[in-house]
């Protein structure tokens, strides 16, 4: 790569400056041959590198699916670890093509911060975790408590709102990363740890004795987490959004990583045929190969498979599907029709 060389990069940067901004993200990605995906610096189950630097997790699976859909190869992803501080700038500046980092879709983030959330891949809500021996069973009993909270997120605003509306006070203990929050909470530096319920479950699962901690029943906010792309690049937004919906539809119609090749040869169900490119040319409409959904589902399975493999009940994190079940199962995962 030429761009890695100091002067080379500066020169290239200077020369290619003018044209680059106007071109669509899709063209950039195709030209580059790799998708730059902004992820968490390390949250078990969602995005974390192993000893060899291979990333895995629920969010990472979506990056892989997008890379598979666009470039045909789930390995063609460059993971850019972003902190709560740097994530939006990384997206706005074009450092990453999409941001899959437990990011809540909010009004101001779409309008003021100029990003788009083409889909929601996890419906979450903010909860609290406390020690069992503290005797607290409801968030309403947390008056006067010290609460560990990660900075730079929506959670600190929710927390302030919640305690205010319930006429309670609290002592915020700001922390920089999830790892630090765990340390402080485990050491007893705070009475409660608050973040998205999924994050709490992931955190609790990793404790030496998880049974000593409980997650309180109250969910104090709506946290629709989803992939984010830059405002205004609708084509790229479509690709990210519909790749995700392909995974959801895959689960609905029983298309799995194991049988997708088989089904791609043609089935009785015209919806599956359209989805998998056997019929029609949905892929071409958004500028990707016609077998995009096949590749995306093959990358890590359909939505259900990804969920079970990374954060489902059989994993140490042990999250129930809940709101994230298919709409047919009483959840909110509802893929629009592929036609």
């Amino acid at each position: 790569m030429k761009t890695s060389v100091i002067f080379g990069t500066l020169v290239v940067a200077g020369l290619s400056a003018a044209g680059a901004a106007s071109a669509g993200t899709l063209d950039d990605v195709k030209a580059r041959g790799v998708v730059n995906c902004g992820v968490n610096t390390g949250l078990v189950g969602f995005a974390a590198p192993d000893a060899n630097g291979n990333w895995s997790g629920f969010d990472v699976a979506l990056c892989k699916a997008v890379a598979a859909a666009v470039l045909g190869d789930p390995a063609k992803v460059k993971y850019v670890p972003t902190t709560g501080q740097t994530r939006f700038t990384a997206l706005a500046s074009g450092e990453v093509d999409l941001l899959v980092r437990n990011t809540t879709r909010t009004f101001s983030r779409e309008t003021d911060l100029k990003m788009d959330f083409p889909a929601i891949n996890y419906y979450d809500g903010q909860g609290f975790m406390v020690r069992k021996d503290s005797g607290v069973t409801s968030a309403k009993e947390l008056n006067g408590a010290s609460v560990c909270i990660q900075t730079g997120t929506t959670t600190e605003l929710n927390l302030a709102d919640y305690f205010k509306s319930n006429g309670m006070t609290y002592q915020p203990i700001a922390i920089d990363s999830n790892a630090e929050g765990e340390q402080q909470f485990l050491a007893g530096a705070c009475d409660a740890y608050t973040t998205d319920a999924s994050g709490l479950a992931a955190t609790r699962a990793a404790f030496p004795s998880p049974q000593d901690y409980i997650i309180l029943p109250e969910i104090i906010s709506k946290e629709p987490l989803g992939p984010a792309v830059r405002h205004g690049d609708n084509n790229w937004g479509d690709i990210v959004g519909w790749t995700f919906y392909a995974l959801v539809a895959g689960e609905e119609y029983g298309v799995t990583a194991a049988n997708v090749d088989e089904l791609a040869k043609g089935t009785e169900n015209p919806e599956i045929n359209r989805l998998l490119g056997h019929e029609g040319n949905l892929g071409a409409m958004m500028g990707v190969p016609n077998d995009w959904a096949v590749k995306a589902i093959k990358a890590g399975g359909n939505y259900g498979e990804i969920f079970e493999a990374n954060i489902g009940e059989k994993t140490p994190i042990g999250l129930a599907r809940g709101l994230n079940a298919q709409w047919t199962q009483g959840g909110l995962m509802y893929a629009p029709p592929f036609r």
Partner: protein, 438 residues
């Protein structure tokens, strides 16, 4: 009567008595104890406190160190081994994590099959540094040191050899132009030596790279900056920052001492601005703002952006160090240069800078130590430095969740060894230079 000595002859003793050993109180251990430890009530008090402190530290940490476990694949396994070997409730370090993740601490996510490249780069680094540090070595070796940065860039980042070679060619063009033209007109030569290489890099490098890449493809596996991490990242940032900031620092130092009002003001403004803000703010500029300041659509990797800001940061500090060196030079040297009729640049190049830089080397080494320590701050812009990010990553693995102290001790020890070595070197140098000047 034994002899016939005459009564007037003086008595001469032939046999020397063996000296008596000094009294027990004035020698050996007891003297040492009395003089060094218990010379007064106050001193005795301090000694007792000191011994108490040492005892406190040792009694708390020694068991933890000694009970360390080197072979385990998770924290739970470590705890089990400690409990079975030393009994329930015994504390012990789980060094196994360092063993298991050693490569990650040293190389970050650098591809495992090409670890030899950073290792080779580091060995070459020491070789290239040797002629700079030790003046006994032949001066010709300095040419190797000059070429070294390009070799290092190529070895670390990989890819085609040509872009790196073209950077070198640019410098060579500049040097040749200077040599040829300096006899005719120094200012023209300086101008040509700067402008032509820049034009070369801007407009000719790209096509030549492509051409040569097709005709003679010499390339090794390229490694994106994102995969750099651990001490590799710290050393690349620290050493790269210092090396690149040296020329800039010299220019700034000369600018600050210049007679020209505007040049002086700009230099002072830059130096004081950079020295007045924390590095972390500049790192945020690198990660959040640099994209605003560059033409729309420009985007290059975060390590490079951080490196630019780190370079500017250390340039301001280096400039102050060199300014100190310039100020320490006896006034006679400047006057002698003037008396010889040398112009400004000749005087700086031949008389002033060689001496001033030599005096400044200890200060530059201190700047490097500071810089090297400060590279840990890049954790806050999402880079995998060894002190905070790598441990956080390791803790994101279920097997090693909950380990803290081992990382502090290990990373702290490595930083200590490197920095302590460098500070000793700079002290040695300071003593040596002092002798030279007398």
């Amino acid at each position: 009567m034994i002899g016939k000595t005459s009564p007037s002859a003086p008595y001469v003793r032939k046999l020397m008595l063996d000296p008596l050993p000094p009294p027990a109180k004035a020698s050996g251990v007891s003297l040492w104890l009395r003089e060094k430890l218990f010379s007064s009530w106050g001193n005795a008090f301090l000694t007792v406190i000191g011994i108490g402190l040492i005892w406190l530290l040792v009694s708390h940490f020694a068991p933890w160190f000694l009970h360390g476990v080197w072979n385990a694949d998770s924290l739970a396994a470590c705890r089990k081994t400690i409990a079975t070997t030393w009994g329930e409730g015994a504390s012990g370090a789980c060094w196994a994590v360092i063993r298991a993740r050693w490569n990650q601490f040293i190389f970050g996510f650098y591809p495992a099959e090409i670890y030899w490249r950073p290792v080779l780069t580091f060995v070459l680094f020491l070789l290239a540094l040797a002629p700079v540090l030790f003046s006994q070595l032949p001066r010709r070796l300095l040419w190797g040191s000059l070429v070294y940065p390009l070799v290092a860039i190529w070895l670390l980042w990989g890819g085609s050899v040509w872009p790196v070679a073209m950077i070198g060619v640019g410098f060579v063009i500049g040097a040749v132009l200077w040599r040829v033209l300096v006899a005719k007109n120094a200012i023209l030569a300086a101008l040509a030596a700067v402008v032509v290489p820049v034009l070369f890099w801007l407009f000719l490098t790209g096509p030549i790279d492509d051409l040569l890449g097709k005709v003679l493809p010499v390339s090794i596996q390229s490694v994106p900056s994102r995969q750099f991490g651990g001490f590799l990242l710290a050393i690349v940032l620290g050493a790269g920052g210092i090396v690149m900031s040296l020329p800039l620092g010299i220019v700034l130092a000369l600018g600050r001492r210049s007679d020209m009002f505007l040049v002086k003001m700009f230099s002072i403004g830059f130096i004081e601005f950079v020295r007045g803000v924390p590095l972390i703010a500049l790192l945020f500029v690198a990660s959040l703002l640099l994209n605003y300041f560059l033409p729309p659509g420009t985007n290059f990797d975060i390590i490079l952006r951080v490196m630019i800001l780190v370079t500017l940061f250390s340039a301001a500090y280096i400039a102050e160090v060199i300014r100190g060196g310039l100020a320490a030079l006896p006034r006679g040297q400047y006057e002698a240069a003037d008396a010889l009729g040398l112009d400004y640049w000749k005087a700086q190049r031949l008389i002033v800078l060689p001496q001033a830089l030599k005096i400044s080397i200890p200060g530059i080494v201190s700047s490097f130590i500071a810089m090297f320590k400060d590279t840990t701050l890049v954790t806050f812009v999402g880079l995998f430095e060894p002190l905070k990010s790598i441990p956080d990553t390791i803790r994101a693995d279920f097997a090693w969740k909950g380990i803290y102290w081992e990382f502090f001790v290990f990373v702290g020890a490595i930083f200590f060894i490197i920095n302590f070595g460098m500070s000793r070197y700079s002290m040695y140098l300071e003593r040596k230079l002092k002798r030279d000047n007398r």
